[in-house]
Symmetry: C3
Subunit: 138 residues, 3 copies
Amino acid sequence: MKSFRKELAFEVKRRRDFINITPQVNDALAESGIREGLLLCNAMHITASVFINDDESGLHQDFEAWLEGLAPEKPYSRYRHNGYEDNADAHLKRTVMGREVVVAVSGGKLDFGPWEQIFYGEFDGKRRKRVLVKIIGE
Amino acid sequence: MKSFRKELAFEVKRRRDFINITPQVNDALAESGIREGLLLCNAMHITASVFINDDESGLHQDFEAWLEGLAPEKPYSRYRHNGYEDNADAHLKRTVMGREVVVAVSGGKLDFGPWEQIFYGEFDGKRRKRVLVKIIGE
Amino acid sequence: MKSFRKELAFEVKRRRDFINITPQVNDALAESGIREGLLLCNAMHITASVFINDDESGLHQDFEAWLEGLAPEKPYSRYRHNGYEDNADAHLKRTVMGREVVVAVSGGKLDFGPWEQIFYGEFDGKRRKRVLVKIIGE
């Protein structure tokens, strides 16, 4: 069994954004040399998400509006977590979108359906944050 | 290390439905011959879900009503994704329910609690869509 | 490839609570002797969750209030599942929080960002329930 580990780093200029990280994950997989196995990709921070969906800007605007409806950023005082922080909403939004994805590796490729792309979802940005790629297999 | 890959295909007659796919996943596991490891089962389409819950029809009606409350299908114009599409709600519903499950394989069986069953959640049906089963182990 | 399996058991006194189970998962990992691989930790019951977030009591109160807003416990009659049961809301809350986490194992440790902690989320407590830890690697 082989294993491979790589960190990706992102510094998102806005509080919230979605970034297609499929190219970086593909590069990590190529670097690993693993052809059959499982790939884990997870946010290392608890106010960010890694998820799989469509790379379509209208949908991303829908995600933003929908998440803001489910877990509004403001007023900050609505959340008990926001004593020293202002990011309780980011913890909730990341919960809806998910911390991680596990992707099959087959024939040395991400074993994806036609529209699957991996995104980093930032909900409390303007600082450097990390994503972990861990691959095991052969 | 052994690895095994199988696609399952579903053509759901309605826009939305939940299908218990535990028998097909069990068959894939038996076919693999793997006795200890991890099994990934994921929707290959971004308007569908694979999740684990109870096989109880009342609960499935509750899921349907609840998801429709969180991310209504109509009016289609409420979503920016719905320029050429009408399925933005399906992307959101799938996000709540999740893309994938990872299940332990122990002694050649799905290592489940008493009520765990695997479901395919379709949110934009009436066409053929696929689910991936990938198993690694020994 | 090595594999390791361990069940953890919890009997939560209240209907709902969040318990930091990172110490028990760390112990399981140490016991396994696995240094590189993937660790799956999942609720074995469908009204409970395993998730990763911050160990901060204000945030946990926010989770409780937020989940109760998204999927209220009462009136029990609002859910079709509640013919013989009263826990439909627990199935929905667990869906939002997630069944499982997959964590990278690197150098014999849980490969975590600075604030990541693993929680058991109970949504229908007052009875003994189990969590599965399955680790594969070398």
